[in-house]
């Protein structure tokens, strides 16, 4: 870890300006991801702007009937919030399926969205990794890639985004509010927030340097039952091999509407729009769920170690859809 200077931001605008001022500055929130990466010198910011004490830690009702979650709301608090639990249960489930109690107590909403991949080659500075060092090559492509992406990857990078929270937020059509150094704000739909790797896997989001996340807003909860299902190698404290967030609205024996997002399969939470389209109006049946799952994984490519994720994702999705309609 290299030495760095540290300041505590007094306001959101000032924080954004402080980072924008220096190309080698970064925001720090809970630090549960950034500090680990700094110790290994994967991230080497020379200046840290601490945003964790900014008054962005409230969860408020919005005019449209949704919630506005301050960027500094801790993962534990968000998961425990009564409104989240009753109106956005799959968000609460996703948060509680992530990391450990201790980490969730520290981790912020913004930091969770911006956490970096757990690709083990990314974590080892001696290994070639385009994300860490553009142009160096990708050690995972022909290496140990059990945890890696099957959708939306490129030859340059097959890493996945590890967040559970973001997958649920994707299914809920969350919007990310940011503030820039000049004080201007913008709202980014979560689907546009993370980038696929293409030729530039080191550029992971659409945020500009110094642009700070201020909040995440959830629109009015969609009708239907919500389920988050995370599949992992041990009972807790493991990243998703595959996860599915599903909201299925049923009317009679038919699916009225469905929203489906997948985790563990791509460099961003993956919305299964084609599957959603197929399900709208379809019978709530084994066959329809199976077809939807097939469609969701259409075009998926395995890289050897992660081939199993394709059938696993299909089976998990089929089952999660069924679980969502069971008592809908």
């Amino acid at each position: 870890m290299q030495s760095f200077t540290y300041e505590r931001a007094a306001s959101a605008e000032q924080a954004a300006a402080a980072v924008a001022d220096r190309p080698d500055a970064k925001f720090i929130s809970g630090g549960t991801n950034l500090l680990d990466l700094m110790k290994l010198e994967i991230e080497r910011p020379a200046h840290l702007v601490d945003v964790s004490r900014l008054p962005l830690n409230r969860i408020e009702e919005t005019a449209e009937g949704g919630l506005r979650i301050g960027a500094q709301v801790r993962n534990s608090d968000l998961a425990a919030d009564q409104r989240v639990r009753s109106r956005y249960p799959m968000l609460s489930q996703a948060l509680l399926a992530g990391a450990s109690g201790q980490i969730r107590n520290k981790a912020s909403t913004s930091g969770n969205l911006l956490q970096r991949t757990r690709c083990p080659y990314f974590y080892d500075r001696n290994m070639p990794c385009n994300k860490r060092e553009p142009g160096a090559g990708c050690a995972a492509f022909q290496g140990f890639n059990r945890m890696h992406a099957v959708l939306g990857a490129s030859e340059a990078c097959i890493a996945v985004h590890p967040s559970d929270m973001a997958v649920a937020m994707s299914g809920l059509d969350a919007r990310i509010e940011t503030i820039s150094p000049g004080g201007e704000t913008r709202t980014i739909p979560i689907g546009d927030f993370h980038r696929l790797p293409g030729a530039m896997p080191h550029v992971e989001t659409v945020l500009g340097h110094g642009e700070m996340i201020a909040a995440v807003t959830l629109p009015l909860p969609p009708p239907g039952r919500q389920v988050y299902r995370k599949v992992r190698d041990r009972a807790s404290y493991a990243f998703a091999l595959v996860s599915v967030a599903a909201i299925v609205e049923k009317s009679g024996d038919r699916v009225q509407s469905a929203r489906i997002a997948m985790g563990g399969v791509a460099a961003k939470p993956w919305r299964a729009t084609e599957a959603e389209r197929m399900l709208a109006g379809a019978a709530a049946s084994n066959g329809a769920f199976t077809d939807a799952a097939e469609a969701a994984l259409d075009g998926a490519i395995g890289h050897g170690g992660n081939d199993f994720k394709i059938p696993l994702a299909k089976r998990t999705m089929r089952h999660t859809l069924a679980a969502a309609v069971e008592s809908a």
Partner: protein, 762 residues
């Protein structure tokens, strides 16, 4: 849980009833309060901090190393590389002339420009703070001439060689009868090949050392399991007499076999402290532990079983191909247990090694049995199914009356009793022998069992025990407590032996100035150190009695009855008695002291005349999710016959810890060696999975009443590692029973069962 009681009148025992009692861990209050000081927490004035830089390649030589920037960095005191490190002996041959030298040989660090394995130390930075040292380490530039290395075991099995011996000095091969012919002729056969992966010990406390010189005396605060060997290894690496090295290791945050020998933290701290004339502290990082602190090697194991149609084995063969290091051989005794477990006239066990460009393997959690039984006890399950026989019945039909290869009788062997008792408690008869048939909702349920065997090792040990004028007892020995409960059971042994309450006994461990023991390893600790302490207490009693009978001031002067006892803090001779403290005050105001010893087991007559092992039976119930293939434990049971149980609570903790490692081995533990780069890919605890609380189900442990009078004076046998032996196989067999999928490549992750799981309609 059945508790083993001290019931019969045994000549070598008093009957104070302290041994066996489930008393709480003596060191627990210190640990929960954070008052137990671990190696890295020791503070000495003027301590400097070291940080190790590891090699970026797995094989080659350092062509250039530029330390200028690091040397100029703030607060840096020293940058040590092979160019300026104090001279050390050469590494020496890959195989030491004797078994003992494995533990005591020199293992120099920063001694050459050669890189032998990935992340091998290439530089040490010492600075005023840890942070400064770590930052400066990042400024060192190294250029390597990289050489192609060998990292792929399965691809290189043809190059395997037979070592001269296995770990712990067992024969490499054993041959009885003619296995090949018997197997060819056997009406029922199993020929199955299993693979077990690289695994890492991963104790919670990393390898850490604070080294300080005072003149030419070196004190090392570290985390070590066996102090005498550790000291000898340090001394030979530093080329100083062992008497000048003191090792202090009172508390150890887990070792699992990875702290038997000194690692780079210790050697480099000692060297840097010498150069700087200041205390130096170094810990390996979690990532560094994967390359630099031992591992269990990857193995390929072929098990062949030939039986008649009644299930009687005609032939047993267990062949093991294991990875080893190209520069230091380590051959885990993986097939050795098979020499004692089941009867069969024709037998073959063989160990072969494939050298790779990796660091040496080290003794990990039941070396030999842990991987060996994982394979072998699955093969027995496969045979039972092929025969249409219950797996317990198959084992009973092959129960030997004498050790099948040595021909000597067993000291005690309660394997059948363990299996039968376990079957009753577990409800084994309700298991559906046809796999894949038991479903609860969308989960497949399965039940499996496996046998457990683990040799009883006794290491040479001495203990010193003293009693003062207030009747307070202090026992000292260089034994260690690696979280197993040594402090507690030794306190019980001394309290029992001298007839004093537990609160009057203080046991001091973990200092190489104390009498030498074999330390903690191989589950020999309790029996070895315990026997020595038991004998020391007997010697102390004799001294007290002698003085009590003869001393002028003694209230027992002249008591000449031969029968004497120490109980309830009193000494009784015939009809006369006196308070122990009062007696000591009168006859020896300075108190008494005595020593006691035991010889290494292998050297004793009883060890030669008897086959000495602990036994057990494991039972497991698993649930497999039909949709995702996730495998979760539902319950486990272990029934153990391991001699007399010294403390039912600490013994149970040992066994459930072992069972938990069994879950790990069966379901998740695996370090991936990248065959291109030669590095362990998943080298941290986020990616290297051990079972967490949620993975550990309800566990029941039962100890059968047993007293092995061939083993040692109080009839106890090694226990710690028995819990892991066979536990993983019971889990694997349960998975097979649940799913009908036989996975022979460990760990059994969901991707390996998923393709065969039914897609159940919704």
């Amino acid at each position: 849980m059945t508790e083993t009681k001290t019931s019969e009148n045994r000549p070598t025992e008093t009957r104070n009833g302290v041994i066996g009692r489930p008393i709480d861990r003596i060191d627990a209050p210190l640990k929960v309060r954070g008052d137990a000081t671990y190696a890295y927490e020791n503070a000495l004035d003027g301590t400097a901090y070291g940080y190790i830089l590891g090699a970026a390649v797995a094989k080659g030589r350092i062509a250039e190393i530029d330390t200028d920037e690091a040397e100029g960095a703030p607060a840096v005191l020293l940058v040590m590389t092979h160019r300026n490190a104090p001279a050390q002996p050469d590494f020496g041959p890959a195989v030491t002339p004797t078994v003992r030298e494995v533990f005591t040989r020199a293992r120099p660090v920063l001694n050459s420009e050669r890189v032998r394995y990935y992340d091998e130390p290439v530089a040490l930075v010492v600075a005023e703070t840890f942070e400064a040292a770590r930052a400066a380490a990042g400024l060192i530039r190294v250029r390597y001439d990289e050489e192609p290395g060998l990292y792929d075991l399965p691809a290189r099995v043809a190059d395997a060689y037979a070592p001269k011996r296995t770990n712990a000095g067992f024969e490499t091969d054993s041959v009885v009868g003619d296995f090949e012919s018997a197997f060819a002729a056997a009406p029922v056969k199993i020929d199955a090949t299993y693979r077990t992966p690289f695994e890492h010990h991963n104790p919670m406390e990393p390898h850490a050392t604070l080294a300080a010189w005072s003149g030419n005396e070196l004190t090392i605060h570290t985390s070590a399991q066996t102090l005498a060997n550790f000291r000898a290894g340090v001394a030979s690496t530093l080329r100083i007499p062992p008497e000048r090295v003191r090792i202090v290791s009172p508390f150890i945050g887990g070792g699992f076999g990875s702290k038997l020998i000194a690692h780079a933290d210790t050697i480099l701290a000692a060297l840097a402290a010498q150069v700087l004339q200041r205390p130096v502290k170094i810990a390996l990082t979690r990532q560094q532990m994967f390359a630099n602190a031992g591992h269990r090697a990857e193995m390929i194991q072929q098990v062949r079983l030939g039986a008649d149609t009644d299930g009687r084995l005609n032939g047993i063969a267990h062949d093991v191909w294991s990875a080893t290091s190209s520069f230091e051989e380590y051959c885990e005794q993986t097939a050795v247990f098979a020499r004692s477990l089941y009867a069969a006239p024709n037998r073959l066990t063989r160990h072969r090694l494939v050298p790779l460009d990796i660091n040496r393997g080290e003794w990990m959690r039941s070396p030999g049995e842990a991987p060996g039984m994982l394979a072998f006890e699955c093969a027995m399950d496969e045979l039972a199914e092929r025969l249409g026989l219950d797996p317990i019945e198959l084992r009973i039909r092959n129960e030997p009356t004498r050790d099948p290869e040595r021909g000597v009788p067993f000291s005690t062997r309660n394997l059948v009793a363990c299996m039968e008792d376990g079957a009753r408690r577990f409800g084994w008869e309700r298991r559906n022998p046809t796999p894949g048939r038991t479903r609860e909702g969308r989960k497949l349920i399965g039940h499996g069992m496996a046998a457990a065997i683990r040799p009883n090792y006794i290491g040479a040990a001495t203990a010193r025990v003293a009693i003062d004028r207030d009747g307070r007892v202090t026992a000292r020995l260089d034994m260690t407590d690696i979280g197993t409960g040594s402090y507690t059971i030794l306190t019980q042994i001394a309290a029992e032996g001298l007839g004093v309450p537990i609160s009057s006994v203080k046991v001091e461990l973990g200092d190489s100035r104390f009498p030498r023991t074999a330390g903690s390893g191989g589950s020999w600790g309790a029996a070895s150190a315990g026997s020595a302490l038991h004998n020391a207490c007997n010697a102390l009693k004799e001294r007290i009695l002698e003085a009590a009978r003869s001393s002028e001031a003694s209230p027992l002067r002249g008591a000449n009855a031969t029968e004497a006892s120490f109980a309830d803090s009193e000494v009784r001779v015939g009809q006369r008695s006196a308070s122990l403290a009062d007696l000591i005050r009168r006859i020896a105001p300075d108190g008494f002291e005595a020593e006691g010893s035991v010889a290494a087991g292998a050297a004793t007559e009883s060890y030669k005349a008897y086959s000495q092992h602990s036994y057990g039976a494991h039972f497991a119930e698993v649930a497999v999710d039909c949709d995702t293939g996730e495998i979760r434990m539902r319950r486990m049971l272990a029934v153990m016959g391991a001699g007399r149980i010294l403390n039912v609570k600490t013994a149970r903790s040992q066994i459930i810890g072992g069972m938990t490692w069994g879950i790990g081995a069966a379901l998740m533990e695996q370090t991936v060696l990248d065959p291109r780069h030669g590095h362990f890919v998943n080298h941290d605890l986020a990616e290297y999975h051990v079972p967490i609380n949620g993975d550990v189900p309800e566990m029941e442990v039962v100890f059968l009443e047993e007293h092995d009078d061939k083993a040692n004076p109080f009839g106890a046998k090694g226990l710690g590692e028995l819990g892991v032996c066979g536990a993983g196989a019971a889990v694997a067999n349960a998975i097979y029973n649940a799913t009908g999928v036989r996975v022979r490549e460990f760990p059994i992750t969901l991707d390996k069962v998923l393709p065969a799981l039914p897609v159940i309609a919704i």
